[in-house]
């Protein structure tokens, strides 16, 4: 009779055991803010469909200091999400060969972030221009 008795360690609380996992969980957690903000915009759309008066009520609601605080929080979360998303991007795609050499990870992450920042600024400028 074999005397082997392999011991299986529990997984409970695994994500707290390593800073890398904590960062991963925060990354995943910030995705909730992305989803939440999509819902907010969707709500705005529904109000808009009910006419100008309804839309103005929704806009007025946004001026609540709690709502503004939430916006700042959501912005921070989305920045973080964007950053960590592009950080793992090199791990998720086939190697990019430029001039016979493999593009280093930081170049992929850097271009991803640059595109994200440029697109955000363009969108901001567009909306700003329309609002004025």
């Amino acid at each position: 009779m074999s005397k082997r008795r392999p011991y299986v360690r529990p997984m409970a609380g695994w994500w707290r055991k390593n800073p890398f996992f904590v960062e991963y969980m925060i990354h995943e957690g910030t995705a909730l803010f992305v989803a939440a903000y999509a819902l907010i915009l969707l709500t705005g759309l529904v109000y808009l469909a009910h006419g100008e008066a309804a839309w103005n009520v929704w806009l007025e609601g946004l001026k609540n200091p709690w709502y503004i605080a939430f916006h700042w929080l959501a912005l921070a979360a989305m920045c973080y999400h964007t950053y960590t998303w592009f950080k793992i991007m090199p791990r998720t795609m086939p190697p990019v060969i430029v001039g016979g050499k493999r593009l280093p990870d930081f170049a992929i992450t850097g271009s991803g972030l640059a595109v994200a920042v440029t697109a955000s600024l363009a969108m901001f400028g567009l909306v700003w221009g329309m609002a004025r």
Binding site: R5, R9, F21, Y24, I88, R91, T92, P94, R102
Partner: protein, 251 residues
């Protein structure tokens, strides 16, 4: 040498299936010099303090893949992790995470071996060739497409870094998937369609949630996360190919 010798505390997770219900910590005082690895530390314990401490090791130069351990909670090869980097604090050594412990620092790796065997880790020739015809031609660029994935030493640090494997041990996991990818992208191989079944399966790539820690801990820069995630794309493409081509992708 002795004037450089200091004492470091090594805390080892002990477990003996014939005696212990559960693992426990034991602390040893180990004299060390600046060039001593954690492996040499546990070897000292075995030779002079407690002969019953069990662990795997062989080459001492980070190529045989035997001596993976959790060192202060990080999956590491103990032969290329140095005690000086922890001193004067205590260094904590445990068996690789997410695997059953057989005894002390020895884990059960039968499941991992079965996974390696399941991925058809050999060339399924695209065009058969006799020895008299000589070697297949393969340019350095074609070699470069798979070389990194062929560098896996099967140390299993990536499994100890993968919470999804910890939660579901059926997941094929990073190293085996990297090896599968290695053969799929080898210019001599024609077995990709056969291997895609496993990629697409319940145990396949979609268990991965892109934590990415597997690639961080890989001592040989294999980047297994890249292999897994490239195969998510391949699997998706394979799925849609089914509708587009008469023969379809893999089953």
């Amino acid at each position: 040498m002795s004037e450089n010798q200091r004492i470091i505390e090594i805390e080892v997770l002990r477990y003996h299936p014939e005696k212990d219900k559960a693992p426990y910590q034991q602390v040893f005082q180990v004299p060390f010099t600046d060039d001593m690895s954690v492996l040499q530390g546990v070897q000292y314990i075995k030779d002079y303090l407690d002969g019953s401490l069990s662990f795997r090791w062989s080459c001492r130069m980070a190529i045989c893949g035997s001596c993976g351990m959790m060192i202060n909670g990080e999956p590491s090869l103990s032969c290329e992790t140095f005690l000086r980097d922890y001193y004067p604090a205590r260094v904590r050594v445990e068996a690789l995470a997410h695997f059953p412990i057989e005894r002390d620092l020895v884990i059960n790796m039968e499941g991992f071996i079965e996974k390696l065997e399941s991925i058809q880790p050999y060339i399924i020739p695209k065009e058969p060739r006799t020895l008299a015809q000589g070697e297949y031609l393969q340019t350095p660029a074609q070699l470069g497409a798979y070389e990194q994935f062929s560098s896996c030493i099967n140390c299993m640090l990536c499994y100890a870094a993968c919470p999804q494997f910890g939660l579901n041990s059926e997941f094929v996991g990073p190293a085996a998937m990297a090896l599968l990818h290695r053969y799929n992208v080898d210019s001599r191989d024609g077995g990709k369609a056969e291997r895609m079944e496993l990629v697409n399966s319940e145990e396949g790539v979609f268990n991965c949630t892109a934590v990415g820690y597997c690639s961080e801990v890989c001592p040989k820069h294999v980047d297994p996360a890249n292999a897994v995630n490239q195969n998510k794309t391949n699997s998706a493409a394979d799925y849609f190919m089914r509708f587009l081509t008469p023969k379809g992708g893999a089953k």
